[in-house]
């Protein structure tokens, strides 16, 4: 069996009387992006703090590249790059000095380090500001440097804790593109966010976390199916729709259909797979279709279904 880049199970953390994380477990393979999706205070940061060896855990196991992670295990930490939620750089050092400093802590040497720092500055788009102090940077630039430090030593596992909080749309898009690029290059990525659209765009699999527990896990499609959510399809029509609705009800994949004045609304499992068949049935029933609108259920609605509250509550 191929070794997992990250494997954690039964993670538990208790602060006084508060159970912050309870029985959290998942795995990530090379080239895979895993999202921990949940609202503020759900236990995302506590979970990744235990995974990255920053926080002592009260229970559970974590291995990175097969090496057990604890607060003192340097061999496991060497495989990991952490991008904390809050910007953690020295403001009175330049971007290059910050990269060089952290590079040395990852045991990188002179020439390799210099070359890699230049490369990372290029990736994060700060080559022209490399020798400026970071205190003069915009929030977005600081965020990019924050990410750059995590990438410096080409880690097997990159952990990003809500990296786009408080970032302008342009920098945000740049960050998301960087993560997609890293994933394509084979890096395993653990991405925490409370932005549903980021999780949908980036993550191969998503774990929905709330009150310190993972409520559900899988691909977006699996999660949607898990909670019984259907795609909503609306057809703009001309002519009588009664015959068409009756025919559609008999189709596989169509859970429900309703005809109205100039339109048909359907609840469909995997609308993309059944759309051609649906259109052909409607046309054969003598109804002309002038427009199609597909509304796929998203992770927001899955979260709502699982927890009874919205992601940003």
């Amino acid at each position: 069996m191929t070794q997992r880049t990250l494997e954690c199970s039964g993670l538990r953390k208790v602060f006084d009387d508060l159970v912050a994380v309870d029985d959290v477990g998942f795995h990530i393979d090379a080239g895979e992006t895993y999202g921990l999706l949940g609202p503020n205070g759900a236990g995302k940061t506590t979970s990744i703090s235990m995974i990255s060896g920053l926080l002592m855990r009260d229970g559970g196991t974590v291995t990175v590249g097969g090496r057990e992670m604890t607060t003192t295990s340097t061999d496991a930490k060497a495989l990991l790059g952490l991008v904390p939620q809050d910007i953690a750089v020295y403001p009175d050092l330049t971007a290059r000095e910050n990269l060089t400093f952290f590079g040395r802590l990852y045991d990188m040497d002179g020439k390799t380090l210099k070359a890699r720092a230049d490369e990372v500055l290029e990736i994060i788009g700060l080559s022209d500001r490399a020798d400026d102090r970071t205190e003069d940077f915009s929030g977005g630039m600081k965020r990019r440097l924050n990410i750059g430090i995590g990438l410096l030593h080409k880690p097997a596992l990159l952990i990003l804790d809500e990296p786009t909080v408080g970032v302008d749309p342009q920098s945000r898009n740049a960050i998301l593109e960087s993560v997609e690029h890293l994933s394509r290059e084979g890096m395993a990525v653990l991405y925490t966010t409370h932005y549903m659209e980021e999780a949908e765009r980036l993550c191969d699999r998503v774990g929905i976390i709330d009150h310190g527990q993972i409520k559900a896990e899988g691909t977006r499609r699996e999660l949607v199916q898990m909670v019984g959510q259907h795609d909503r399809v609306r057809l703009e029509t001309t002519g009588s729709v009664d015959a068409a609705v009756a025919a559609l009800d008999a189709l596989d994949g169509v859970a429900k259909s309703d005809g109205g004045d100039g339109s048909i609304e359907l609840l469909v499992i995997e609308a993309g797979e059944h759309l051609t068949e649906i259109l052909s049935v409607v046309t054969e029933s003598g109804v002309a279709v002038s427009g199609v609108d597909i509304d796929e259920p998203n992770l927001e609605s899955v979260f709502l279904h699982l927890t009874g509250r919205a992601l940003r509550d």
């Binding site: 990255s52 060896g53 920053l54 926080l55 002592m56 607060t71 003192t72 340097t74 061999d75 930490k77 060497a78 990991l80 952490l82 904390p84 809050d86 910007i87 953690a88 750089v89 020295y90 403001p91 009175d92 050092l93 000095e97 400093f101 952290f102 040395r104 802590l105 990852y106 045991d107 430090i149």
Partner: protein, 389 residues
């Protein structure tokens, strides 16, 4: 190696903050001046002398003033020029010998020598020296005047004889013998506070201020980020501590070398003095790291740092000599040795007052090493708790 990397960044950031230049170079310079003035042995006060007459008695007084060891006589052109120099601090004081000095003495009139100084307090010792020189000349003049009045010789001949014999007359010395038990404060002169006490007070106090560096590293999230790399908490803390240790050591050496070169302050054997300073700086940086690990903001650490820095210095004998504690309250003398200051002072006392060797101060040095180890160990434990729980 990682600790050195962290220390190097710590120092780079320290140097980059221009306000720190004041604490590294300017403030120690001020301390050098204060310590040098207070404890220096070779300091010579600059005394301007304006002799408005080339006559022999006026020139004799100039010669007598030049003979005073603690005075550097500067011949000035005019009374106005001398006054300006005193006002600007270029001279500590000035003496104006009038043009009719010889004539007035020869005719038996009283003659006034003007003494200019910025304040009586600053120039009191210098004035005593000038008065002493004038008195010495007056003794010779009175002897000559007496011989003239008795008809033994003319004034000039008698003056010549009196001057010639002046050197053969022995001084009368007074030996003071203390009897009975002295009151404690009378002993202060014997165990006068020294430059060493001020050095230890300053090094420890400024080291404690360095706790803010660790607090800032924590507050920036950089400390946590460092331990997410393959770096142990102890490396982080030792690195931060080494940076502050280097600053304290440089400051201390700057003060020691400056006061020695400019004012000739006696620090004892230079190598042993450096070893004491080195270990005490290590203790100071360890205490700073402990505070940096315990407190979470600069204000708390700053307030506590001043309180601890001055409090421990006072208890440890930096404000009142340990020997006074021993005389007035032996228990307090024992309690004073809870502080590293007391052990540092014991070591300095040994090498300065008794020409102590390394063997003589080895125990004191070991105790200082012990303080440093305990402070660093507690700081590492505390930082680990703060960062990982």
């Amino acid at each position: 190696m990682k600790s050195f990397t962290i220390a190097a960044v710590n120092l780079k950031r320290f140097v980059r903050d221009r306000s720190n230049v004041f604490f590294v170079f300017i403030f120690p310079m001020l301390l050098i001046l204060v310590l040098g003035s207070a404890f220096g042995g070779d300091f010579q006060a600059r005394l301007g002398v304006i002799a408005e007459s080339e006559d022999p008695l006026a020139q004799d007084l100039v010669t007598r003033l030049q003979a005073i060891e603690t005075v550097a006589v500067v011949e000035a052109d005019s009374a106005e020029g001398a006054l300006r120099s005193v006002e600007r601090g270029e001279l500590e004081a000035a003496v104006i010998i009038p043009a009719d000095y010889d004539e007035a003495i020869g005719s038996g009139r009283t003659v006034s020598v003007e003494f200019l100084a910025r304040s009586a307090q600053e120039a009191s010792s210098l004035r005593s020296n000038v008065e002493s020189a004038i008195t010495q000349q007056a003794v010779v003049l009175r002897a000559a005047r007496f011989a003239e009045s008795e008809g033994l010789a003319t004034f000039d001949a008698a003056l010549s004889t009196a001057t010639a014999t002046e050197g053969f007359i022995g001084d009368v010395s007074v030996d003071v013998v203390a009897v009975g038990e002295a009151f404690a404060l009378d002993e202060l002169g014997q165990f006068d506070s020294s430059a060493q006490t001020q050095l230890l007070l300053f090094v420890f106090l400024t080291s404690l201020a360095g706790s803010s560096a660790l607090i800032q590293t924590r507050r920036l999230g950089v400390a946590r980020r460092m331990i997410a790399t393959p770096t142990q908490v102890r490396n982080v803390l030792v690195g931060e501590g080494l940076g502050r240790f280097a600053v304290a050591l440089v400051q201390g050496l700057f003060i020691m070398i400056g006061t020695w070169l400019i004012f000739g302050v006696d620090w004892g054997d230079p190598i042993l003095a450096t070893v004491i300073l080195l270990l005490f700086s290590l203790v100071g940086s360890g205490a700073a790291m402990l505070m940096g690990a315990v407190f979470s903001n600069d204000e708390q650490a700053g307030g506590m740092g001043v309180l601890l820095g001055l409090g421990l210095a006072a208890l440890g004998g930096c404000m009142m000599p340990l020997q006074v504690f021993e005389l007035i309250a032996p228990g307090l003398y024992t309690v004073a040795h809870i502080t590293p200051h007391a052990w540092g002072l014991e070591a300095f006392d040994s090498i300065v007052l008794s020409n102590g060797t390394f063997t003589d101060i080895a125990v004191f040095l070991l105790i200082l090493v012990g303080y440093a180890v305990v402070f660093y160990a507690l700081a590492i434990w505390r930082l680990r708790v703060v960062l990982t729980r």
